[in-house]
Amino acid sequence: MIEIKNITKEFGTIKAVSNVSFSVNKGEILGFLGPNGAGKSTTMRILAGIFPPTRGQVRIAGFDLNTQVMEIRQRIGYLPEQVPLYPELTVSQYLDFVVSFWGFDKNKKQNQILKVLGQCGLESVKNALLKRLSRGYRQRVGLAQALVHDPEVLILDEPTVGLDPKQIREIRDLIKSFQGEKTVILSTHILPEVSMTCQKVLIIDKGTIVAEGTPESLTGQMNEAAEIKIKVDGPVEEVRMALTGLPGVKHVESIGKNGKGSTFLLQTVNSTEIRPQVAKMIVERNWGLLEMNVHTLSLEEIFVKLVTKEDTA
């Protein structure tokens, strides 16, 4: 459904997106992660048909972005990060305005507007002026305008930002319900959201993709180097050196000292089970073993690791 090949986007001397390639199948929901300034929004704007890439090919629904942008825009609904609205219009008027670009007949227009008002929970404010709406409602109007022409593809830039927990859940459920019929790319900073709604994840940093896969595979990959968190009552340096000396230990990091013991983070090689050995050694050396547990990295920690370390092994 969506194929991106080697796209680069330059703004003057700034390379916002550099040689990015990926694809999304029909009916899939892709999560797009990255720190601010990574090139997420630029990539999404390219996909939405706002401007073409400086280099590279984009194909959506079989159409080429560089030559058939109108066909692509016909089939895409876009929700930008900040939702720009026309303040003097009401919700219904605005949706009417948007949907009229698609040339539907009067009945279909009306039906679509009603449908989308319902989907986004906007019935109660349908006659309210846009300038009077709260953040949460504005966000929902933005989503509504992306949905109103029933697009095949949705490109959502941070769709749940600024919403209260109840609203977030409703929007997430709505997005999930599109799985299988619409193709969705959504970007977010809320990492658990990605595990909850997306089949596929892409992490982008400084304009290039640094990781790609399913939420499980990503957490799995990094968990190869599973970590053990251990709290020991003993002299910090000695303990640290002793731990490092153990076979199967790749790296030991001292992360703090509180109360009686110091806490260390051990990285193992290939997740070998070394807990018994660690325990044995500590006891033999007469140090107090206060706490030991396996620390599996959450997606958030993986994300942070990926975008801060320049040189992952």
Partner: protein, 244 residues
């Protein structure tokens, strides 16, 4: 569909009303003053004495009013970001431009239309030379359209409405005043050439009742030029948007 997105921008409701009333008031008071003078002498149709100056005054009033209308057409959309959403809809840049252009044109139409009352009123008292009046309206319409296209062009260059309005006014005045050179140097060739750029000069014949093809061509070329320039501005946005 094209005009569809000219109007929802509800400048139509707020600014228009203010401007129309201001405009009408001006026109009316001018007219009354003139009438008083005219009546002082005879009852004869020295109507051209009234409508020609009136038309010139209207031309000047429009010069100031139109930038106020056009300034937000693009600038505001650029500032709020709504223009970006427009770029995701299946509508071409040309259609966007024409939508706003036609919206502004219809506003111009709405502004000028009620003024027809004046000749109609005067007609009750003395005969009115309709062809001349008509030609004056045609001239005003062309003139207004020229103002509009410059306004659109300027509005598209910035996201600040004040800058847009100032740029529009400045440019229009430049085109207006460029004709003064011919008066200062009536024989110099360069002055004559420059004079051809003067909007005012080309408008002059219309106000006399003469529909001159040179003048019409000038207006059409002028309008086409600025529309093209604006379209070019719209198209060349591949560099914009480096916000992050």
């Amino acid at each position: 569909m094209k005009v569809g997105f000219g109007s929802p921008m509800a400048y139509v409701t707020s600014t228009t009303f203010l401007l129309i009333t201001g405009y009408l008031f001006n026109a009316l008071s001018l007219m009354i003053a003139k009438q008083a003078i005219a009546y002082g002498t005879t009852n004869l149709p020295i109507v051209d004495q009234l409508f020609r100056p009136l038309t010139s005054h209207v031309a000047v009033i429009l010069l100031f009013m139109i930038p106020a209308i056009t300034m937000r057409l693009f600038a505001e959309e650029r500032k709020t970001g709504t223009i970006e959403l427009l770029y995701t809809y299946p509508v071409s840049d040309i259609e966007i431009l024409f939508g706003k252009f036609l919206g502004a044109l219809s506003l111009l139409f709405v502004l000028l239309l009620p003024t027809l009352l004046y000749p109609l009123m005067v007609k009750q008292i003395t005969p009115v030379e309709w062809p001349v009046i008509l030609s004056q309206y045609v001239g005003l319409f062309f003139l207004g359209t020229c103002y509009i296209v410059v306004g659109l062009w300027a509005s598209n260059l910035t996201d600040n409405q004040i800058i847009a309005a100032t740029l529009t006014l400045g440019s229009l005045l430049a085109f207006w005043l460029v004709g003064w050179m011919t008066q200062a140097f009536p024989t110099a060739l360069w002055a004559k050439v420059l004079g051809q750029l003067s909007i005012l000069a080309h408008f002059d014949s219309f106000s006399k009742g003469v529909l001159n093809t040179t003048d019409i061509t000038f207006f059409l070329l002028f309008i086409a030029f600025f529309l093209a320039a604006t379209l070019n501005g719209l198209n060349s946005r591949t560099w914009r948007g480096a916000r992050e």
